[in-house]
Symmetry: C2
Subunit: 232 residues, 2 copies
């Protein structure tokens, strides 16, 4: 029980939302949200001393948190030059989504269907939270619920390494699709997609689930393509 593959995605997917023991985790989570919700834009610079002052903490803690963010690909460190928010160009995003689709289809192929009642309940609960937070305009919580849905769904493939890889790539592309949460129409569509996925899980419709998950990624990918054409 030593090397849990989940350890690759340490505090993020930590099932224990306990008292946020370590300060570096708090900084890590805060910065992670800032990036994922667009409060920090791609290519924006992250200066250690500023962050240390903002979080009332030593620079060492900030460095550790930034290393953690580097690990999951949300920021990038250039030696002696500091840390910037990652910025994937459109072609990289296409490649990233290609990998995500491959991994997701592999996961779906490995799920045992129809899904257990407890899994269905869990997903239903998460999706309800999603809708509620959306109605209240709590974007932070919406993003968290969205992440939880995907994490739970693909975690059900039974292979922790595969689940970790999916989550890892999901987080990277979250840089891109995160903004969609702010668009009501897209968010509603997302919620409906999730419900349809749950239905597929209940009925054991593996092929349908696969298609659904692939289609689910399309809107944000289309948005990227569009802005790429508009602003070369």
């Amino acid at each position: 029980m030593s090397a849990q593959p989940t350890a690759v995605m340490p505090s993020t997917s930590a099932a224990t939302p306990r008292a946020e023991a370590r300060p570096q985790d708090r900084v890590f989570q805060a910065l992670r949200r800032d990036v994922l919700l667009g409060r920090l834009r791609p290519r924006e610079r992250l200066v250690e001393e500023e962050l240390a002052a903002r979080f009332a903490v030593g620079r060492y803690v900030v460095r550790a948190a930034l290393d953690e963010l580097t690990r999951i690909g949300l920021v990038e460190r250039r030696p002696n030059r500091g840390v910037v928010v990652s910025d994937y160009d459109p072609s990289q995003i296409e490649q990233l989504y290609e990998v995500r689709e491959t991994l997701q289809r592999a996961a779906i192929a490995r799920m045992l269907l129809p899904a257990s009642r407890s899994l269905l309940d869990e997903l239903t609960t998460i999706n309800r939270t999603y809708a509620e937070c959306l109605a209240r305009g709590e974007l932070d919580a919406v993003a968290e619920a969205n992440a939880a849905f995907h994490r739970t769904l693909f975690g059900a493939c039974g292979n922790p390494f595969l689940a970790a890889a999916i989550e890892q790539h999901w987080e990277k592309s979250a840089l891109v699709h995160g903004y969609a949460i702010g668009v009501p129409a897209l968010a509603a569509r997302s919620h409906a997609d999730h419900e349809a996925m749950i239905a597929c899980l209940a009925e054991g419709d593996r092929a349908g689930l696969g298609e659904l998950c692939s289609r689910h990624m399309q809107p944000s990918l289309e948005a990227v393509r569009k802005t790429a054409r508009t602003r070369p």
Copy 2:
């Protein structure tokens, strides 16, 4: 050109074996080899101060190197309890290999075949180095050549994210298959497999390459299964 997916596997796959500028890279590489070549065994503890003394460097540098190793899954850090070499149990290894196979098949499906002359030459050169170092008994260099072969091969899929994911999982399982280098028969077999792969690349035999790569992973997986039965 900011966020290169290769950055996920920073110094390891760095194509520039330049002057080892940063001290933490030197420590990182040394420890990585120790783990991969079995000089450090699974579950073995890594004490920061000991390493700092051994490498004649500050504890901070050791910490940074250990974090780097954590990132690629070779060691694991338990908060306030230190770092130990990762230890995957047999079922986890099966899962790991399953993901590797999925990723490798996806990569092979995306390669454009027949391969370019420069790629074939590069792989041939690497495999020759492999044989030469093996004959001389330089296991460090053999492991490095082996890694280079796989990195180059799957790097040819054209999707840096996919290549990075493959490399990432390859390194994790290197904890397991690394020992095979020391067994002459297995090492020879490995060399022959590599040649066959190059032939498939040259002829454009995609299906053959896929099967070959999957079979290539089997011996070490079998070894794991065997030791698992012997020593439950």
